[in-house]
Protein backbone atom coordinates (compact mmCIF):
# COMPACT_ATOMS: atom_id res chain seq x y z
CA UNK A 1 0.00 0.00 0.00
CA UNK A 2 1.46 3.29 -1.03
CA UNK A 3 1.50 6.33 1.18
CA UNK A 4 -1.07 8.10 -1.00
CA UNK A 5 -3.46 5.16 -0.83
CA UNK A 6 -3.05 4.89 2.92
CA UNK A 7 -3.97 8.53 3.45
CA UNK A 8 -6.81 8.59 0.93
CA UNK A 9 -10.04 9.66 2.57
CA UNK A 10 -13.20 7.64 2.05
CA UNK A 11 -16.78 8.83 2.25
CA UNK A 12 -18.50 7.71 5.40
CA UNK A 13 -22.04 6.47 5.30
CA UNK A 14 -24.25 7.94 8.01
CA UNK A 15 -27.79 6.81 8.63
CA UNK A 16 -30.33 9.37 9.81
CA UNK A 17 -33.72 8.13 10.88
CA UNK A 18 -36.35 6.77 10.77
CA UNK A 19 -36.48 7.47 14.49
CA UNK A 20 -34.75 10.80 14.25
CA UNK A 21 -36.35 13.62 16.18
CA UNK A 22 -35.84 16.17 13.44
CA UNK A 23 -37.07 14.29 10.42
CA UNK A 24 -40.70 15.36 10.89
CA UNK A 25 -42.09 11.86 10.90
CA UNK A 26 -40.71 8.48 10.01
CA UNK A 27 -38.31 9.48 7.30
CA UNK A 28 -34.87 8.00 6.75
CA UNK A 29 -31.94 9.67 5.05
CA UNK A 30 -28.73 7.83 4.21
CA UNK A 31 -25.95 10.36 3.91
CA UNK A 32 -22.50 9.93 2.42
CA UNK A 33 -20.29 12.42 4.14
CA UNK A 34 -16.76 13.56 3.48
CA UNK A 35 -15.81 15.06 6.81
CA UNK A 36 -18.58 17.55 7.53
CA UNK A 37 -19.60 17.90 3.90
CA UNK A 38 -22.46 15.89 2.43
CA UNK A 39 -21.45 14.14 -0.78
CA UNK A 40 -24.74 12.43 -1.52
CA UNK A 41 -28.07 11.67 0.07
CA UNK A 42 -30.42 8.77 -0.37
CA UNK A 43 -33.92 9.33 1.01
CA UNK A 44 -35.92 6.28 2.10
CA UNK A 45 -39.68 6.58 2.42
CA UNK A 46 -42.57 4.23 3.00
CA UNK A 47 -42.59 3.74 6.77
CA UNK A 48 -46.07 5.22 7.01
CA UNK A 49 -47.52 3.56 3.94
CA UNK A 50 -51.16 2.65 4.54
CA UNK A 51 -52.26 2.13 0.97
CA UNK A 52 -54.79 4.96 0.96
CA UNK A 53 -55.23 4.81 -2.80
CA UNK A 54 -56.02 1.11 -2.83
CA UNK A 55 -58.16 1.35 0.31
CA UNK A 56 -60.22 4.02 -1.43
CA UNK A 57 -61.30 1.54 -4.06
CA UNK A 58 -63.09 -0.48 -1.42
CA UNK A 59 -64.80 2.34 0.45
CA UNK A 60 -67.89 4.40 -0.21
CA UNK A 61 -67.35 8.00 -1.25
CA UNK A 62 -68.53 9.24 2.13
CA UNK A 63 -66.03 6.99 3.90
CA UNK A 64 -63.06 8.08 1.80
CA UNK A 65 -63.17 11.55 3.36
CA UNK A 66 -61.87 9.96 6.58
CA UNK A 67 -58.89 8.59 4.66
CA UNK A 68 -58.10 12.02 3.25
CA UNK A 69 -58.10 13.47 6.76
CA UNK A 70 -55.22 11.19 7.49
CA UNK A 71 -53.15 12.00 4.42
CA UNK A 72 -51.90 15.44 5.32
CA UNK A 73 -52.68 15.37 8.99
CA UNK A 74 -51.70 19.00 9.49
CA UNK A 75 -53.78 20.50 6.71
CA UNK A 76 -56.86 18.30 7.08
CA UNK A 77 -59.45 20.71 5.69
CA UNK A 78 -57.40 21.44 2.59
CA UNK A 79 -56.97 17.75 1.89
CA UNK A 80 -60.66 17.05 2.41
CA UNK A 81 -61.47 19.86 0.01
CA UNK A 82 -59.31 18.26 -2.69
CA UNK A 83 -61.31 15.04 -2.53
CA UNK A 84 -64.80 16.50 -2.30
CA UNK A 85 -63.77 18.93 -5.05
CA UNK A 86 -62.89 16.06 -7.36
CA UNK A 87 -66.18 14.26 -6.74
CA UNK A 88 -68.16 17.48 -7.18
CA UNK A 89 -66.35 18.15 -10.43
CA UNK A 90 -67.24 14.70 -11.70
CA UNK A 91 -70.86 15.00 -10.57
CA UNK A 92 -71.08 18.58 -11.83
CA UNK A 93 -72.49 19.71 -8.50
CA UNK A 94 -72.99 23.33 -7.53
CA UNK A 95 -72.08 23.87 -3.89
CA UNK A 96 -74.19 26.40 -1.97
CA UNK A 97 -72.56 29.79 -1.56
CA UNK A 98 -72.51 29.73 2.21
CA UNK A 99 -70.85 26.33 2.30
CA UNK A 100 -68.13 27.58 -0.04
CA UNK A 101 -67.38 30.52 2.22
CA UNK A 102 -67.22 28.39 5.35
CA UNK A 103 -64.93 25.98 3.50
CA UNK A 104 -62.59 28.77 2.46
CA UNK A 105 -62.49 30.24 5.97
CA UNK A 106 -61.67 26.87 7.50
CA UNK A 107 -59.09 26.05 4.82
CA UNK A 108 -57.26 29.33 5.25
CA UNK A 109 -57.29 29.03 9.04
CA UNK A 110 -55.93 25.53 8.57
CA UNK A 111 -53.17 26.95 6.37
CA UNK A 112 -52.23 29.34 9.16
CA UNK A 113 -52.18 26.58 11.76
CA UNK A 114 -50.05 24.41 9.46
CA UNK A 115 -47.57 27.21 8.83
CA UNK A 116 -47.51 27.96 12.55
CA UNK A 117 -46.34 24.42 13.15
CA UNK A 118 -43.76 24.86 10.41
CA UNK A 119 -42.58 28.07 12.01
CA UNK A 120 -42.08 26.32 15.33
CA UNK A 121 -40.30 23.27 13.97
CA UNK A 122 -38.10 25.43 11.76
CA UNK A 123 -36.91 27.16 14.90
CA UNK A 124 -36.28 23.79 16.53
CA UNK A 125 -34.28 22.62 13.51
CA UNK A 126 -32.13 25.71 13.78
CA UNK A 127 -31.64 25.09 17.48
CA UNK A 128 -34.02 27.75 18.76
CA UNK A 129 -36.38 26.36 21.39
CA UNK A 130 -38.66 29.35 21.85
CA UNK A 131 -40.49 29.63 18.49
CA UNK A 132 -42.31 26.32 18.90
CA UNK A 133 -43.95 27.63 22.07
CA UNK A 134 -45.23 30.69 20.22
CA UNK A 135 -46.24 28.67 17.20
CA UNK A 136 -48.21 26.21 19.26
CA UNK A 137 -49.90 28.93 21.27
CA UNK A 138 -51.36 30.44 18.11
CA UNK A 139 -52.12 27.02 16.67
CA UNK A 140 -54.09 26.21 19.79
CA UNK A 141 -56.49 29.09 19.23
CA UNK A 142 -57.26 27.81 15.76
CA UNK A 143 -57.57 24.22 16.91
CA UNK A 144 -60.05 25.20 19.59
CA UNK A 145 -62.11 26.95 16.96
CA UNK A 146 -62.01 23.84 14.77
CA UNK A 147 -63.09 21.75 17.73
CA UNK A 148 -66.05 24.02 18.32
CA UNK A 149 -67.08 23.78 14.66
CA UNK A 150 -66.42 20.14 13.82
CA UNK A 151 -66.01 18.39 17.17
CA UNK A 152 -62.49 17.21 16.39
CA UNK A 153 -59.17 18.93 16.62
CA UNK A 154 -57.54 17.16 13.73
CA UNK A 155 -59.54 14.47 11.94
CA UNK A 156 -62.56 16.63 11.23
CA UNK A 157 -64.52 14.70 8.59
CA UNK A 158 -66.53 17.89 8.11
CA UNK A 159 -66.65 18.50 4.36
CA UNK A 160 -69.24 16.55 2.45
CA UNK A 161 -69.82 15.95 -1.21
CA UNK A 162 -71.93 18.98 -2.07
CA UNK A 163 -71.39 20.98 1.10
CA UNK A 164 -70.76 20.53 4.79
CA UNK A 165 -71.77 18.01 7.43
CA UNK A 166 -73.66 20.38 9.67
CA UNK A 167 -74.23 24.04 10.33
CA UNK A 168 -71.36 25.65 12.22
CA UNK A 169 -72.25 26.91 15.72
CA UNK A 170 -74.22 30.17 15.95
CA UNK A 171 -71.24 32.14 17.22
CA UNK A 172 -68.97 30.92 14.41
CA UNK A 173 -68.45 34.28 12.70
CA UNK A 174 -67.98 36.06 16.02
CA UNK A 175 -65.44 33.49 17.15
CA UNK A 176 -63.43 33.73 13.92
CA UNK A 177 -63.48 37.50 14.20
CA UNK A 178 -62.37 37.22 17.79
CA UNK A 179 -59.48 34.90 17.04
CA UNK A 180 -58.08 36.81 14.04
CA UNK A 181 -56.48 39.78 15.87
CA UNK A 182 -54.75 37.40 18.26
CA UNK A 183 -53.40 35.37 15.35
CA UNK A 184 -52.24 38.50 13.53
CA UNK A 185 -50.45 39.61 16.65
CA UNK A 186 -48.95 36.16 17.03
CA UNK A 187 -47.63 36.20 13.46
CA UNK A 188 -45.95 39.56 13.97
CA UNK A 189 -44.56 38.50 17.30
CA UNK A 190 -43.12 35.32 15.83
CA UNK A 191 -41.74 37.28 12.92
CA UNK A 192 -39.88 39.65 15.22
CA UNK A 193 -38.60 36.75 17.26
CA UNK A 194 -37.02 34.61 14.56
CA UNK A 195 -37.06 35.88 10.97
CA UNK A 196 -34.22 38.42 11.12
CA UNK A 197 -32.36 36.91 14.03
CA UNK A 198 -28.66 37.00 13.12
CA UNK A 199 -28.02 33.40 14.14
CA UNK A 200 -31.02 32.18 12.16
CA UNK A 201 -29.96 34.22 9.12
CA UNK A 202 -26.45 32.78 9.27
CA UNK A 203 -27.87 29.27 9.47
CA UNK A 204 -30.35 29.63 6.62
CA UNK A 205 -29.14 32.22 4.09
CA UNK A 206 -27.57 30.59 1.06
CA UNK A 207 -28.18 27.05 2.34
CA UNK A 208 -29.91 24.49 0.15
CA UNK A 209 -30.27 26.82 -2.83
CA UNK A 210 -32.54 25.72 -5.64
CA UNK A 211 -32.88 27.83 -8.77
CA UNK A 212 -36.27 28.50 -10.33
CA UNK A 213 -35.61 26.23 -13.30
CA UNK A 214 -34.39 23.40 -11.08
CA UNK A 215 -37.42 23.75 -8.85
CA UNK A 216 -39.72 23.48 -11.86
CA UNK A 217 -37.80 20.50 -13.18
CA UNK A 218 -38.16 18.65 -9.90
CA UNK A 219 -41.88 19.35 -9.83
CA UNK A 220 -41.90 21.48 -6.71
CA UNK A 221 -45.10 23.28 -5.87
CA UNK A 222 -46.39 25.60 -3.20
CA UNK A 223 -44.25 27.84 -1.01
CA UNK A 224 -41.13 25.83 -1.82
CA UNK A 225 -41.50 26.68 -5.51
CA UNK A 226 -42.46 30.30 -4.89
CA UNK A 227 -39.32 30.73 -2.79
CA UNK A 228 -37.34 30.13 -5.98
CA UNK A 229 -39.05 33.07 -7.63
CA UNK A 230 -41.83 31.38 -9.59
CA UNK A 231 -45.24 32.95 -8.83
CA UNK A 232 -47.26 29.77 -9.05
CA UNK A 233 -50.29 29.44 -6.82
CA UNK A 234 -53.31 27.38 -7.83
CA UNK A 235 -55.59 29.73 -5.91
CA UNK A 236 -54.56 32.46 -8.35
CA UNK A 237 -53.68 30.77 -11.65
CA UNK A 238 -56.58 28.32 -11.69
CA UNK A 239 -59.00 29.44 -8.97
CA UNK A 240 -61.08 26.64 -7.50
CA UNK A 241 -63.95 26.98 -5.07
CA UNK A 242 -64.47 30.76 -4.75
CA UNK A 243 -60.87 31.92 -4.58
CA UNK A 244 -61.35 34.24 -7.56
CA UNK A 245 -63.40 36.55 -5.34
CA UNK A 246 -60.58 37.42 -2.97
CA UNK A 247 -57.77 39.87 -3.27
CA UNK A 248 -54.47 38.51 -2.01
CA UNK A 249 -50.81 38.63 -2.96
CA UNK A 250 -48.55 35.75 -3.85
CA UNK A 251 -45.24 36.23 -2.08
CA UNK A 252 -42.20 35.15 -4.09
CA UNK A 253 -38.63 34.70 -2.96
CA UNK A 254 -35.38 35.80 -4.55
CA UNK A 255 -32.71 33.20 -3.90
CA UNK A 256 -34.56 29.96 -3.34
CA UNK A 257 -32.60 29.21 -0.19
CA UNK A 258 -33.77 27.91 3.16
CA UNK A 259 -34.50 31.36 4.50
CA UNK A 260 -36.66 32.22 1.49
CA UNK A 261 -38.70 29.06 1.92
CA UNK A 262 -39.22 30.02 5.56
CA UNK A 263 -40.11 33.63 4.79
CA UNK A 264 -42.68 32.58 2.15
CA UNK A 265 -44.69 30.78 4.78
CA UNK A 266 -44.60 33.63 7.25
CA UNK A 267 -45.86 35.97 4.53
CA UNK A 268 -48.49 33.45 3.44
CA UNK A 269 -49.97 33.46 6.93
CA UNK A 270 -50.59 37.19 6.60
CA UNK A 271 -52.24 36.67 3.22
CA UNK A 272 -54.45 33.93 4.68
CA UNK A 273 -55.62 36.28 7.41
CA UNK A 274 -56.46 38.75 4.65
CA UNK A 275 -58.52 36.14 2.79
CA UNK A 276 -60.39 35.09 5.94
CA UNK A 277 -61.31 38.72 6.65
CA UNK A 278 -62.67 39.21 3.14
CA UNK A 279 -64.57 35.93 3.31
CA UNK A 280 -66.19 36.91 6.61
CA UNK A 281 -67.42 40.14 5.07
CA UNK A 282 -68.78 38.56 1.91
CA UNK A 283 -70.32 35.48 3.55
CA UNK A 284 -74.11 35.25 3.37
CA UNK A 285 -75.64 35.11 6.84
CA UNK A 286 -77.99 32.28 6.14
CA UNK A 287 -78.66 29.78 3.46
CA UNK A 288 -78.31 26.09 2.75
CA UNK A 289 -74.97 24.43 3.51
CA UNK A 290 -75.44 21.30 1.46
CA UNK A 291 -76.59 20.64 -2.07
CA UNK A 292 -79.15 17.96 -2.81
CA UNK A 293 -77.13 14.75 -2.95
CA UNK A 294 -78.32 11.18 -2.48
CA UNK A 295 -77.34 9.46 0.73
CA UNK A 296 -74.86 7.27 -1.11
CA UNK A 297 -73.47 9.40 -3.96
CA UNK A 298 -72.86 7.66 -7.26
CA UNK A 299 -70.89 9.89 -9.63
CA UNK A 300 -71.48 9.20 -13.32
CA UNK A 301 -69.06 7.11 -15.33
CA UNK A 302 -66.01 9.17 -16.20
CA UNK A 303 -62.92 10.74 -14.77
CA UNK A 304 -61.93 14.03 -13.19
CA UNK A 305 -58.76 15.68 -12.01
CA UNK A 306 -59.02 18.33 -9.34
CA UNK A 307 -56.14 20.25 -7.92
CA UNK A 308 -56.00 22.53 -4.94
CA UNK A 309 -53.44 24.55 -3.09
CA UNK A 310 -52.48 22.79 0.11
CA UNK A 311 -50.28 24.46 2.73
CA UNK A 312 -47.48 22.40 1.23
CA UNK A 313 -48.22 22.77 -2.46
CA UNK A 314 -50.44 21.35 -5.13
CA UNK A 315 -52.56 18.38 -4.15
CA UNK A 316 -54.15 16.64 -7.07
CA UNK A 317 -56.88 14.02 -6.99
CA UNK A 318 -57.49 11.96 -10.09
CA UNK A 319 -60.75 10.11 -9.81
CA UNK A 320 -62.06 7.44 -12.15
CA UNK A 321 -65.62 6.32 -11.62
CA UNK A 322 -67.44 3.42 -13.18
CA UNK A 323 -70.79 4.75 -12.03
CA UNK A 324 -70.83 2.77 -8.80
CA UNK A 325 -70.82 3.85 -5.16
CA UNK A 326 -67.07 3.30 -4.89
CA UNK A 327 -64.35 4.83 -7.05
CA UNK A 328 -62.81 2.61 -9.70
CA UNK A 329 -59.43 4.25 -9.19
CA UNK A 330 -58.24 7.13 -7.09
CA UNK A 331 -54.80 8.62 -7.64
CA UNK A 332 -53.43 11.17 -5.25
CA UNK A 333 -50.71 13.56 -6.24
CA UNK A 334 -49.33 14.66 -2.88
CA UNK A 335 -47.32 17.88 -2.71
CA UNK A 336 -44.83 16.68 -0.08
CA UNK A 337 -43.87 13.66 -2.13
CA UNK A 338 -42.91 15.77 -5.13
CA UNK A 339 -41.20 18.39 -2.99
CA UNK A 340 -39.09 15.71 -1.36
CA UNK A 341 -37.51 14.90 -4.74
CA UNK A 342 -35.54 18.12 -4.50
CA UNK A 343 -33.89 17.11 -1.25
CA UNK A 344 -30.97 15.35 -2.92
CA UNK A 345 -29.73 18.21 -5.13
CA UNK A 346 -30.31 20.64 -2.28
CA UNK A 347 -28.27 18.65 0.21
CA UNK A 348 -25.22 18.12 -2.00
CA UNK A 349 -22.24 20.11 -0.78
CA UNK A 350 -23.94 21.39 2.35
CA UNK A 351 -22.80 20.55 5.86
CA UNK A 352 -24.27 17.77 7.94
CA UNK A 353 -25.51 20.27 10.50
CA UNK A 354 -27.61 21.96 7.82
CA UNK A 355 -29.22 18.77 6.54
CA UNK A 356 -31.99 18.94 9.10
CA UNK A 357 -32.68 22.60 8.32
CA UNK A 358 -32.90 21.98 4.58
CA UNK A 359 -35.27 19.08 5.14
CA UNK A 360 -37.31 21.16 7.56
CA UNK A 361 -37.61 24.00 5.09
CA UNK A 362 -39.47 21.70 2.67
CA UNK A 363 -42.15 21.20 5.32
CA UNK A 364 -42.96 17.59 4.52
CA UNK A 365 -45.72 15.55 6.11
CA UNK A 366 -44.96 11.88 5.97
CA UNK A 367 -48.59 10.79 6.03
CA UNK A 368 -48.87 12.36 2.63
CA UNK A 369 -45.51 11.28 1.24
CA UNK A 370 -46.13 7.61 2.01
CA UNK A 371 -49.91 7.65 1.65
Amino acid sequence: MTEAQRLESVDILVNMGPQHPSTHGVFRMVLWVDGERIVDCDPHIGYLHRGSEKLSEGELYSQIITLFDRLDYIGNFNTELAFVGAVEKLMNLAVPERAEYIRVILCELNRISSHMLFYGTMGLDAGAMTPIMYGFRERERIQNLFEAVTGARMMHNYFRIGGLREEPPDDFVARVRGVLPAIEQGIEEGDRLLTYNEVFLARSRGIGVLSGQEALDYGLTGPSLRASGIPDDIRAIEPYSIYDRFDFDIPIGENGDTWDRYAMRVEEMRQSVKIVKQALEQMPESGPIKAQVRGIPRPPKGEAYFRAENPRGEIGVYLVSDGGDKPYRLKIRPPSFANLQALRPMLRNTYVADAVMVLGSLDIVLGEVDR
Binding site: S62, V149, N157, R192, L193, E198
Partner: protein, 189 residues
Protein backbone atom coordinates in the same frame (compact mmCIF):
# COMPACT_ATOMS: atom_id res chain seq x y z
CA UNK B 1 -27.08 42.28 16.87
CA UNK B 2 -30.05 44.62 16.79
CA UNK B 3 -32.45 41.98 15.51
CA UNK B 4 -31.46 39.46 18.12
CA UNK B 5 -32.24 42.08 20.75
CA UNK B 6 -35.63 42.65 19.16
CA UNK B 7 -36.25 38.94 19.57
CA UNK B 8 -35.23 39.11 23.20
CA UNK B 9 -37.74 41.90 23.72
CA UNK B 10 -40.51 39.59 22.49
CA UNK B 11 -39.47 36.99 25.03
CA UNK B 12 -39.26 39.62 27.72
CA UNK B 13 -42.71 41.00 26.95
CA UNK B 14 -44.28 37.57 27.45
CA UNK B 15 -42.50 36.57 30.65
CA UNK B 16 -45.08 38.15 32.90
CA UNK B 17 -48.22 36.99 31.14
CA UNK B 18 -50.37 34.17 32.39
CA UNK B 19 -49.41 30.70 31.11
CA UNK B 20 -51.67 29.23 28.44
CA UNK B 21 -50.72 25.64 29.17
CA UNK B 22 -52.42 23.26 31.60
CA UNK B 23 -50.77 20.56 33.69
CA UNK B 24 -52.70 17.87 31.89
CA UNK B 25 -53.40 14.86 34.10
CA UNK B 26 -54.17 17.07 37.10
CA UNK B 27 -55.78 19.89 35.19
CA UNK B 28 -58.22 19.70 32.28
CA UNK B 29 -58.99 22.45 29.84
CA UNK B 30 -62.72 22.92 29.21
CA UNK B 31 -64.15 20.90 26.33
CA UNK B 32 -65.96 22.54 23.46
CA UNK B 33 -69.68 21.90 23.33
CA UNK B 34 -69.43 19.81 20.17
CA UNK B 35 -66.34 17.95 21.27
CA UNK B 36 -66.29 14.42 19.93
CA UNK B 37 -65.41 11.60 22.21
CA UNK B 38 -66.19 7.97 21.53
CA UNK B 39 -69.65 6.97 20.32
CA UNK B 40 -72.26 5.98 22.92
CA UNK B 41 -75.84 4.75 22.79
CA UNK B 42 -78.61 6.99 24.08
CA UNK B 43 -81.26 6.00 26.61
CA UNK B 44 -84.94 6.77 26.23
CA UNK B 45 -85.81 7.65 29.81
CA UNK B 46 -89.57 7.82 29.21
CA UNK B 47 -89.97 4.21 28.15
CA UNK B 48 -86.89 2.92 29.91
CA UNK B 49 -85.16 1.38 26.94
CA UNK B 50 -82.45 2.35 24.44
CA UNK B 51 -83.37 4.45 21.44
CA UNK B 52 -81.58 1.91 19.28
CA UNK B 53 -83.78 -0.53 17.38
CA UNK B 54 -80.86 -2.49 15.95
CA UNK B 55 -81.28 -1.51 12.32
CA UNK B 56 -77.50 -1.92 11.83
CA UNK B 57 -77.07 1.00 9.47
CA UNK B 58 -74.15 2.27 11.57
CA UNK B 59 -72.57 -1.18 11.49
CA UNK B 60 -72.76 -1.20 7.70
CA UNK B 61 -71.50 2.35 7.21
CA UNK B 62 -68.59 2.22 9.67
CA UNK B 63 -65.36 2.64 7.69
CA UNK B 64 -63.39 0.48 10.12
CA UNK B 65 -66.04 -2.17 10.91
CA UNK B 66 -65.58 -1.59 14.63
CA UNK B 67 -69.20 -2.36 15.59
CA UNK B 68 -71.36 -5.42 15.76
CA UNK B 69 -74.80 -6.08 17.15
CA UNK B 70 -78.04 -8.06 17.03
CA UNK B 71 -81.69 -7.09 16.78
CA UNK B 72 -84.36 -8.81 18.92
CA UNK B 73 -88.14 -8.52 19.37
CA UNK B 74 -88.98 -5.90 21.94
CA UNK B 75 -90.73 -7.54 24.93
CA UNK B 76 -92.08 -4.14 25.98
CA UNK B 77 -93.86 -3.77 22.65
CA UNK B 78 -95.81 -6.95 23.29
CA UNK B 79 -96.94 -5.53 26.60
CA UNK B 80 -97.89 -2.29 24.91
CA UNK B 81 -95.45 -0.16 26.84
CA UNK B 82 -93.26 0.75 23.91
CA UNK B 83 -93.88 1.60 20.29
CA UNK B 84 -90.58 0.05 19.16
CA UNK B 85 -91.30 -3.37 17.68
CA UNK B 86 -87.64 -4.34 17.56
CA UNK B 87 -84.87 -3.43 19.95
CA UNK B 88 -81.13 -3.81 20.18
CA UNK B 89 -80.22 -7.16 21.74
CA UNK B 90 -76.57 -6.85 22.17
CA UNK B 91 -74.08 -4.42 20.79
CA UNK B 92 -70.36 -4.03 20.92
CA UNK B 93 -67.99 -1.32 19.77
CA UNK B 94 -64.28 -1.91 19.67
CA UNK B 95 -63.21 1.57 20.65
CA UNK B 96 -59.63 0.63 19.86
CA UNK B 97 -60.64 0.45 16.22
CA UNK B 98 -62.94 3.46 16.23
CA UNK B 99 -61.50 6.43 14.32
CA UNK B 100 -64.06 8.95 15.64
CA UNK B 101 -65.31 9.90 12.20
CA UNK B 102 -68.91 10.42 13.35
CA UNK B 103 -70.41 8.63 10.33
CA UNK B 104 -72.49 6.37 12.61
CA UNK B 105 -74.13 9.41 14.21
CA UNK B 106 -74.80 10.95 10.84
CA UNK B 107 -76.51 7.89 9.34
CA UNK B 108 -78.61 6.99 12.40
CA UNK B 109 -82.32 7.56 11.83
CA UNK B 110 -83.35 6.90 15.42
CA UNK B 111 -81.18 9.37 17.42
CA UNK B 112 -79.75 6.24 18.98
CA UNK B 113 -76.04 6.91 18.77
CA UNK B 114 -74.16 10.04 19.74
CA UNK B 115 -70.56 11.11 20.03
CA UNK B 116 -70.15 11.36 23.80
CA UNK B 117 -67.56 13.42 25.62
CA UNK B 118 -65.75 10.26 26.74
CA UNK B 119 -62.18 10.40 25.49
CA UNK B 120 -59.88 8.97 28.16
CA UNK B 121 -60.27 5.25 27.81
CA UNK B 122 -56.73 3.90 28.15
CA UNK B 123 -56.67 0.35 29.37
CA UNK B 124 -54.07 -2.21 30.38
CA UNK B 125 -55.93 -5.23 29.03
CA UNK B 126 -55.53 -5.98 25.37
CA UNK B 127 -59.25 -6.04 24.70
CA UNK B 128 -60.12 -3.60 27.45
CA UNK B 129 -61.51 -1.11 25.01
CA UNK B 130 -64.24 -3.37 23.67
CA UNK B 131 -67.37 -1.94 25.18
CA UNK B 132 -70.71 -3.75 25.34
CA UNK B 133 -74.29 -2.49 25.45
CA UNK B 134 -74.58 -1.64 29.19
CA UNK B 135 -71.30 0.29 29.10
CA UNK B 136 -72.28 2.13 25.95
CA UNK B 137 -75.61 3.07 27.53
CA UNK B 138 -73.81 4.28 30.66
CA UNK B 139 -71.63 6.50 28.51
CA UNK B 140 -74.72 7.70 26.67
CA UNK B 141 -76.73 8.51 29.79
CA UNK B 142 -73.79 10.43 31.20
CA UNK B 143 -73.53 12.41 27.98
CA UNK B 144 -77.27 13.05 27.83
CA UNK B 145 -77.24 14.46 31.36
CA UNK B 146 -74.12 16.53 30.76
CA UNK B 147 -75.34 18.18 27.61
CA UNK B 148 -79.13 18.45 28.22
CA UNK B 149 -79.57 16.22 25.22
CA UNK B 150 -82.53 16.64 22.91
CA UNK B 151 -83.01 14.06 20.14
CA UNK B 152 -81.48 15.68 17.02
CA UNK B 153 -84.55 14.96 14.89
CA UNK B 154 -86.67 16.81 17.47
CA UNK B 155 -84.20 19.57 18.14
CA UNK B 156 -85.54 22.08 15.65
CA UNK B 157 -89.13 21.67 16.87
CA UNK B 158 -88.01 21.79 20.49
CA UNK B 159 -86.01 24.97 19.98
CA UNK B 160 -88.90 26.61 18.15
CA UNK B 161 -91.37 25.53 20.83
CA UNK B 162 -89.13 26.83 23.59
CA UNK B 163 -88.82 30.15 21.81
CA UNK B 164 -92.58 30.30 21.37
CA UNK B 165 -93.18 29.47 25.00
CA UNK B 166 -90.69 32.09 26.08
CA UNK B 167 -92.40 34.64 23.86
CA UNK B 168 -95.79 33.82 25.32
CA UNK B 169 -94.37 33.78 28.81
CA UNK B 170 -95.99 30.40 29.52
CA UNK B 171 -94.48 27.14 30.71
CA UNK B 172 -91.88 25.55 28.40
CA UNK B 173 -93.63 23.21 26.01
CA UNK B 174 -90.47 21.61 24.68
CA UNK B 175 -90.47 18.81 27.24
CA UNK B 176 -93.92 17.60 26.36
CA UNK B 177 -93.30 17.49 22.63
CA UNK B 178 -90.01 15.66 22.85
CA UNK B 179 -91.79 12.50 23.98
CA UNK B 180 -94.04 12.10 20.96
CA UNK B 181 -91.29 10.86 18.72
CA UNK B 182 -91.66 7.11 18.98
CA UNK B 183 -94.69 6.52 16.76
CA UNK B 184 -93.01 8.07 13.79
CA UNK B 185 -89.89 5.99 14.31
CA UNK B 186 -91.72 2.74 14.43
CA UNK B 187 -93.23 3.33 11.01
CA UNK B 188 -89.71 3.86 9.66
CA UNK B 189 -88.57 0.58 11.19
Amino acid sequence: MFNALKGMLVTLSTTLRKPVTAQYPKQHLPLQERQWGFPALTWDGEVGEPYCVGCMVCVRMCPTQCMSGTMIDNPKHAEGESTRRKIIGDFEINLGRCILCGICVEVCNFDAIEMSHEHEISHYARNGRRVDLPMLLDMGVKYQQESNWIPPTKKKAAVAAAAKAAAEGGAPAAEAEAGEDTAEKESEA
